[in-house]
Point group: C2
Chain length 222, copies 2
DNA sequence: GCTGCATGCATTGCATGCAATGGACTTCCG
DNA sequence: CGGAAGTCCATTGCATGCAATGCATGCAGC
């Protein structure tokens, strides 16, 4: 920790990013307990920035205080459903807003082209069973829609929810026969936004998210 | 800060709460710059817990990094509108969920009675120009609805939004002739929830929030 | 008189020491 | 042999020291 005197600044932010990436990658799995010293040594910084990164990630819903210390969130099925419900509401909002902006002529055609391309690539990656990439592309697709909505508050809230979902559904990376359905729903959303139809876009987004929620739920108790 | 060895624990959390209260009360007005040492001395703790409280409140959207140090958020009219849009979406969700639970018979009658009483008290305080109390009661009313929804994720997100709005609209504490309208809309929401009508409840909540947003906007540029 | 720069200062970011807390392990008693 | 209590240790929470950074102030030059 003496050799690192170059990066004299923002250790704390860099630590936060690294830690977030490790958690999203599953290197620190849900429920894993994290120690300050352990992480500090792994990242080559002192305990102070680690401590602050812990707090920041806890506020983002990726870490949870666990008595003495902190652990990676481990959402129960019910909690995950709650997250999905909120996500559905927010993605419905962003889809509506994006469609409104399209109707108002405030979206550049290139932006919609990009979105379409993301849908393509997501579908392709899924078909080819490139699951990790597919997850990333899928998230990009949804993020792009939220960006088109032009509401930073909604986008930020969604990033948090996506993070939580990504962590909690990491181990069940099934690409079932929902593949075709997912693609259809992406197309439907894309079409509604392109058509500048807020109601349709919102409905499509909400349905898509809720379907995803249903698919993510454990085998059910049937 | 040697005399404070009694409260040997959770300074950090206590600091966060105190600071949040001070900001919501307007003691630290929007845009005010906060120094670690200043706050540390004011609260009788060292800089470390203050630092962590700063981070936590920044994550909650109450503080914003301002180059060297931190300042109380000061939302522009546009940003505030974005916040209100998200709030409208989330309150529509919670109203729907609350109504669903009512329909499913999962709400105790006493809970709805409480809600009605909160609406009463809010209206009364507003009429009597007890603005500070009215703001608090109004928030309690909305929070109660969110609690009835039974979705902790939505509730938590809303708490953050309410905080931001409360800070940013503090100085314009006008109780215009919206008084009657606000009360009407509260009643409407309450009635829809009581009737177990999710669609009506959601619509009422959304409209109410968006109306509040319109009223909160500066004189407009007409 | 104004602008640009240099210097000094206030303030933060990070590291580390110290004390307290909580948990785990061991041991003793029933 | 099982359970409960005591003790020990790992780990965190908080305080503070030190170095670096950015800002303001003042001076000099144009």
């Amino acid at each position: 920790m003496h050799a690192a005197h170059y990066a004299a600044a923002v250790q704390t932010e860099s630590t936060r990013r690294s830690l977030r990436a490790l958690i999203l990658d599953g290197r620190y799995p849900p429920g894993a307990r994290l120690g300050e010293v352990e992480v500090a040594e792994a990242l080559g910084v002192s305990r102070t920035p680690v401590r602050e990164a812990f707090r920041a990630l806890a506020a983002d819903g990726l870490l949870a205080a666990a008595g003495r210390g902190v652990r990676v969130v481990e959402l129960s099925a019910d909690e995950l459903t709650h997250v999905y419900r909120v996500r559905a509401a927010l993605e419905a909002l962003t889809a509506e807003l994006a469609a409104e902006r399209q109707r108002a002529g405030r979206l550049a055609p290139a932006e919609l082209t990009d979105l379409a391309e993301l849908a393509d690539r997501t579908h392709r990656a899924t078909v080819e069973r490139e699951l990790t990439e597919a997850v990333g592309l899928n998230r990009q697709f949804h993020r792009r829609v939220a960006e088109l909505a032009g509401n930073p508050v909604a986008l930020h809230s969604l990033e948090r929810l996506w993070d939580q979902i990504q962590v909690s559904t990491r181990r069940s990376l099934h690409a079932p026969d929902r593949t075709a359905l997912v693609d259809d729903q992406h197309r439907e959303l894309l079409a509604a936004v392109t058509a500048g139809d807020p109601a349709a876009a919102g409905a499509a987004a909400r349905r898509h998210v809720l379907d995803t929620c249903a698919a993510a739920r454990p085998p059910e108790k049937e």
